[in-house]
Subunit: 302 residues, 2 copies
Amino acid sequence: MPPAGVAVTTPVFQRLCLIGAGLIGSSIARRNRERGDLAGEVVVTARSAATLARVRELGFADRVEEDAAEAVKDADGVIFCVPVGAYAGVMRHIAPHLAPGAILSDVGSTKGSVIRDLLPLCPPGVRLVPAHPMAGTEHSGPDAGFPTLFEGRYCIVTPLPNGDPQAVEKVREFWRRCGSAVESMDAATHDKVVAIVSHLPHLIAFTICGTADDLSEETRESVLKFAASGFRDFTRIASSDVAMWRDVFLNNREAVLEMLARFTEDAHAFGRAIRWGQEEFIVDRIQRGRKIRRSLIERKQA
Amino acid sequence: MPPAGVAVTTPVFQRLCLIGAGLIGSSIARRNRERGDLAGEVVVTARSAATLARVRELGFADRVEEDAAEAVKDADGVIFCVPVGAYAGVMRHIAPHLAPGAILSDVGSTKGSVIRDLLPLCPPGVRLVPAHPMAGTEHSGPDAGFPTLFEGRYCIVTPLPNGDPQAVEKVREFWRRCGSAVESMDAATHDKVVAIVSHLPHLIAFTICGTADDLSEETRESVLKFAASGFRDFTRIASSDVAMWRDVFLNNREAVLEMLARFTEDAHAFGRAIRWGQEEFIVDRIQRGRKIRRSLIERKQA
Ligand SMILES: NC(=O)c1ccc[n+]([C@@H]2O[C@H](COP(=O)([O-])OP(=O)(O)OC[C@H]3O[C@@H](n4cnc5c(N)ncnc54)[C@H](OP(=O)(O)O)[C@@H]3O)[C@@H](O)[C@H]2O)c1
Ligand SMILES: NC(=O)c1ccc[n+]([C@@H]2O[C@H](COP(=O)([O-])OP(=O)(O)OC[C@H]3O[C@@H](n4cnc5c(N)ncnc54)[C@H](OP(=O)(O)O)[C@@H]3O)[C@@H](O)[C@H]2O)c1
């Protein structure tokens, strides 16, 4: 009989290889350590010797491999958990070593670029099912993960138009077992939605911090002192990982630029209304903000 | 002997008149009800019959007056607690009735406009000391207030260049007794600082809600569904009071427009870097965001 808390259900994968062991990768591994229903064995690989050593110490992997090509051997599931800008390079390295029939998935914050970078290098028989767990914190690295990270959060799966339905269902089941509510959409829709709900807010937050940083010494001092009312909320989302966000902006370029253009047009219109004292326009904008907020509260997303 | 919890110190004012009984006004009155060291008597006036009736029910005022002109009579302290756009009209009405030697103060979120609107109408001998408690919630009205609202928050006093030092010290002491850390600066500096720490973040939050609201039906639906990652934080500050924010934007026009211009220039530069794949620029911006965030954490403002 298995010890209490260990699953009796068949794991989704026999051998799962996680490429990358940061916040997301280590959370997946920890989840399996706790419940055992994701994979019979979890093999972890990462880029640096320091991370590999730390993964060994933390003990959430069944096996740690230095070489990603070695790590993917005989794995029936492989999940990319590295910044999306690193996908192409890693894929070139591992592609020849992927097991026939393996399911290849990922957790990247952009999806069009992932298909662009992985699909052309996919050996025949390897089934690509991109995914994006909408869960995260401001922290990164193997110490940042925890097994409940994905609980109650959405995971968006973006199956290829001609993708294997069985492989898609396996990936969906994987994320359900991580505690997530799984949604499917095409990659282009995904990229537009995350551009406005996540990438543009981050771009704005990074930008306003820079704007504040460029103010005269005296004003900047006061900004830090009196940050409480609004600015502070922006800086919180601005404290995210550098490599991840660089890659997100560069790999969701079209959607981010489109949303940025729409937003700056709207911001200019707001500024113009302030300049010319157009009360009705201003009141309308404020009311729309409140309306959206109320919709979120009704949906319990606030 | 006074009952436990009631101050033995002399109150700052003998008779304090609060003009407006929303979040801020009612919090001041409640604070005095609890501690008694702000004023010997608190007279409250408000615009609508509904608010006046509610103030009577809630019982935080010693006296409720329908007519502001009646309310300010014989008060040695008068504090404007209404949206800044209403100051000029109210002041025209009460000015002839202000007691000689009275201290006239306020809690408005802009300070240049307050001096512009109140000072010319100040009768000789009435001493104007503008102030801005940096405390608030998303709620408004007489039910929203609570006596600890100002505790541990900054209050910025913006004395006039030739203001009476004794009157300034009284207002500073008033806010210290409200639990605030009191700072002084000139009105122009105040308006610039709040433009970037508070007014611009609100403008951005209102704007991005509108941008999202204008998306196609399908995308908007998804935005509400997947709001969790960044967007949600923006909508929280977008749920503030309409009249207050309309007045703030219209009455801090120059500073808000300047900060908006700086910000949109910076946002455009960020967009350009994404378009042309300028990694270094993007990394630099992200790092500055993190740096500002760290400064806030070090100052315990985060
Ligand atoms: N954090 C979030 O909020 C969040 C949410 C949803 C999805 N995601 C996505 O999840 C993925 C991983 O994010 P994370 O937060 O887990 O990041 P993380 O904590 O910074 O971990 C990144 C991992 O990728 C490895 N790595 C980094 N650059 C690499 C490269 N050039 N080549 C090979 N390996 C590299 C790192 O190895 P070393 O430690 O050895 O450098 C580390 O193991 C990203 O694609 C991100 O877009 C993140
Ligand atoms: N809320 C914040 O976060 C915050 C923070 C710091 C400073 N402030 C400043 O504090 C002041 C009051 O804000 P609040 O949050 O207390 O607002 P609130 O809760 O909406 O209350 C506003 C009060 O002003 C009265 N009022 C509104 N329009 C008026 C008009 N045209 N003429 C006369 N009276 C009018 C209202 O009377 P009725 O109820 O009868 O309509 C109500 O008593 C504003 O200047 C604001 O900028 C606000």
